[in-house]
């Protein structure tokens, strides 16, 4: 009998607790704040849970040793939550949404772009409009199509730019004296050097960019491909891509019978000398990898003359974030010339600025010009000389699925 009464009491408590914590919906940032001073006021004492891809040691060190220290000056604690892929953060947000958790969410800020940003927009996971509050937004050229569109998805004030990336090939100059300068030349090089090249299997992010880079070339250039996905264009243009990729397959690592399942695996193959090339969206990481002995000292990065895909990484705030004020304050902090320069320093990270340098004053421009030159990576101006925008994110999945059906051996 006593057992039953206890059970009833617990059940009653549970109902009470549920009633007390019944969630209200988080107000949007624009409904909460009209000035940045209000944001800073409320941000004091808050902790920002920043969800960031954890596989980049440089990024991890930058967040922990530079950004977190700087944010402490504003009374904000930055708590970095490493994820294996941004989709993990997206799963959490979607889980919250499905559970009806519309406030007090555990994710305050997400390092995001491309397909994940689009997915979040589809499911209305982001808080929008807050980028107008950022004083440092004045350094951003919001009209630049590579800023205003995230893989073709309009940004619509739902995220603030953070850094720029440029897809580059990486090779060992001790083994490859004259690296191929165009996609057709690269395909020829692969056929002439069996077993010395491979790429990660899409949907790995890097493998996916590699197939798009080849897609641009086999389609006769970026401009011949409709920016948004178009089924007819896919039917017309993709067969040339598949036949090119099938054509090199027998000359790839393991004769193309299998592919690295992640870019980390490809980097390991390169570091161990099993292949002569790797590829990366963050060429600035190479200096650190050479310095710690992961890559040979003769490693060099370059981009192809017929174009290299570039994109922008952003910081986005989930609609149910618990600490929006601090998240906005951090996003603003990250757009300052000082932080953009710190981020561009080869140690700890070395990633390219997302702000328009011509909007900063001459002394800042000089500091960016004085960034140390790398022995392994050309300066950003050279890397991005032939920069090509990404296709819209809705191309990614058809191309990834098509690759699995047409190229992956069965």
């Amino acid at each position: 009998m006593r057992g039953r009464r206890t059970a009833a009491a617990i059940a009653g408590l549970a109902v009470l607790a549920a009633a007390c914590s019944a969630p209200g919906t988080s107000p949007t940032a624009t409904a909460q704040f009209t000035t940045f001073e209000q944001v800073l006021d409320q941000a004091k004492g808050q902790t920002v849970n920043l969800y960031a891809y954890g596989g980049d040691q440089g990024a991890n060190r930058y967040i922990d040793e530079v950004l977190a220290v700087k944010a402490r000056g504003l009374g904000i604690t930055v708590h970095r939550v490493p994820v294996d892929a941004t989709t993990t953060a997206m799963q959490k947000l979607l889980g919250d949404k499905q559970a009806g958790k519309t406030s007090g969410g555990g994710v305050d800020l997400v390092w995001v772009n491309g397909e994940n940003f689009r997915t979040g927009k589809q499911a209305a996971l982001w808080d929008c409009g807050w980028t107008d509050l950022l004083p440092n937004g004045r350094y951003v050229n919001w009209a630049d199509p590579e800023i205003a569109n995230d893989f073709g998805t309009p940004v619509n004030k739902c995220e603030a730019p953070w850094s720029r990336a440029q897809f580059a090939f990486v090779y060992d100059s001790a083994r490859v004296s004259q690296p191929p300068r165009t996609v057709p030349a690269l395909l020829d090089w692969i056929r002439a050097h069996p077993g010395r090249f491979t790429y990660p299997a899409p949907p790995d992010f890097t493998g996916s960019v590699f197939t798009r880079q080849v897609f641009y070339a086999t389609s006769g250039g970026y401009t011949t491909i409709p920016t948004g996905y178009d089924h007819d264009a896919y039917q017309r243009l993709s067969p040339a891509l598949w036949s090119a990729l099938r054509g090199i397959a027998p000359s790839l690592w393991r004769s193309g019978t299998t592919y690295p399942t992640s870019s980390a695996q490809l980097n390991t193959l390169y570091g161990n000398g099993e292949v002569d090339f790797t590829m990366t969206y963050g060429p600035a990481e190479i200096d650190a990898l050479v310095a710690n002995g992961t890559y040979p000292a003769t490693t060099k990065a370059y981009t192809l003359d017929d174009g290299s895909i570039g994109n922008t990484a952003y910081l986005a705030i989930p609609a149910n974030a618990a600490n929006k004020a601090a998240a906005i304050a951090v996003a603003n902090l990250e757009l300052s010339p000082e932080q953009q320069l710190a981020k561009a320093q080869p140690t700890p990270w070395g990633v390219y600025p997302a702000i328009d340098l011509t909007r900063t004053d001459a002394s800042w421009q000089q500091k960016f010009a004085d960034l140390p030159r790398s022995a392994h990576v050309p300066p950003f101006a050279e890397l991005s000389r032939h920069s090509l925008p990404e296709l819209q994110a809705n191309w990614t999945t058809p191309l990834d699925d098509g690759w699995r059906q047409e190229v992956l051996p069965r």
């Binding site: 892929a85 989709t87 993990t88 799963q91 979607l94 949404k97 499905q98 397909e115 994940n116 689009r118 997915t119 589809q122 499911a123 077993g195 299997a201 949907p203 393991r254 019978t257 299998t258 592919y259 690295p260 399942t261 390991t268 193959l269 161990n272 000398g273 099993e274 994110a393 990614t396 999945t397 699995r404 992956l408 051996p409 069965r410």
Partner: protein
């Protein structure tokens, strides 16, 4: 010496499970009370997760779906040749790992039992038990890769020139790297289970068989293994269900095609396109179905064994 004489000594064996029925129901109540906290956690967390997975695999996705339930993700998955090859891959990995672990684990237990260093051997076996599968998989990838430790040793010994000359042991067509990792990880588990089953009772029967002139081979075949069988069957079922459904080892050491079922499920679940999630969850639910079938098969096999050993 004659096999016939050994068979004659396998006298009726008391079956442990049959003795407890005579005790009162008070004990059963205590057992239920003691099990309740664990059952609440298992049924609440695991059962709840499973129920959610079933619901979402049927299309119940509050964010993206229109809420109508259908089996369409299951028909899509079952018709996909990629799914079929993943099923075969996972069955191969699980069956080969289980048999290898059973053979090695039993052999280790039998060797250790008659060795003086039994406690030291047991400690060695148990040292491998708490190592996470993920760590084991990474260690094996460092050792077995084309440019791994073994390959480098082979190179020093003049056996292999370039990394490409070394036989493919990770991401290889026969999933050898995955099977070896599982065998390494599960063998101690089987050995510990077998060692604890090799109690004084079995020793008595073995001695009896020996006095009746059964040789070591005959004793093993007709006395020891039949008496160990229930414990080995249980351990084998656990290893099979685990290796069939575990993600991390095939994710690290597997090929891009065909993928083990859990890798296929996770790729669907984590796809950027939200409408690929139900299919990924359908694969996950089907993995659970196979796990449940393995449990049912275990129950049937255990009953057959019980009737066979309790003449």
């Amino acid at each position: 010496m004659a096999p016939g004489s050994a068979a004659a000594v396998t006298v009726p064996a008391p079956i442990a499970g049959h003795t407890s029925n005579v005790r009162g129901t008070g004990r059963a109540r205590v057992a239920v009370a003691l099990l309740t906290p664990a059952l609440v956690v298992v049924l609440g967390l695991f059962g709840g997760g499973l129920a959610l997975a079933v619901a979402q695999s049927l299309g119940a996705a509050p964010v993206t779906g229109d809420g109508t339930l259908s089996l369409s993700s299951y028909t899509t998955v079952l018709r996909d040749p990629e799914f079929v090859s993943s099923v075969l891959t996972s069955l191969w990995i699980a069956a080969a790992s289980t048999l290898l672990a059973l053979a090695l684990g039993t052999a280790a237990a039998l060797t250790l039992r008659s060795s003086a260093a039994v406690s030291r051997g047991l400690a060695l076996l148990q040292a491998a038990l708490p190592v996470p599968h993920l760590v084991g998989a990474i260690a094996f990838s460092l050792a077995l890769a084309d440019s791994g430790l073994l390959s480098r040793l082979a190179n020093v010994a003049g056996l292999a020139g370039t990394p490409a000359d070394f036989p493919a042991l990770v991401q290889d067509p026969h999933a050898l790297g995955i099977i070896l990792t599982y065998a390494w990880k599960e063998t101690p588990f089987v050995a510990v289970v077998a060692l604890s089953a090799l109690g004084p009772r079995i020793r008595e029967y073995e001695t009896m068989a020996r006095t009746l002139a059964a040789g070591p081979g005959a004793r093993l075949r007709h006395v020891t293994l039949p008496l160990l069988a229930p414990a080995l069957l249980a351990a084998g079922m656990l290893v099979f269900a685990f290796t069939f459904g575990a993600y991390e080892v095939p994710a690290l050491l597997g090929r891009s095609y065909p993928e083990a079922l859990p890798v296929l499920a996770y790729r669907g679940f984590s796809a950027v396109e939200l409408d690929a999630r139900p299919a990924g969850l359908a694969v996950a639910v089907l993995i659970s179905v196979v796990g449940a079938l393995a449990t049912v098969g275990y129950g049937v096999a255990a009953r057959i064994l019980a009737t066979r050993t309790s003449w």
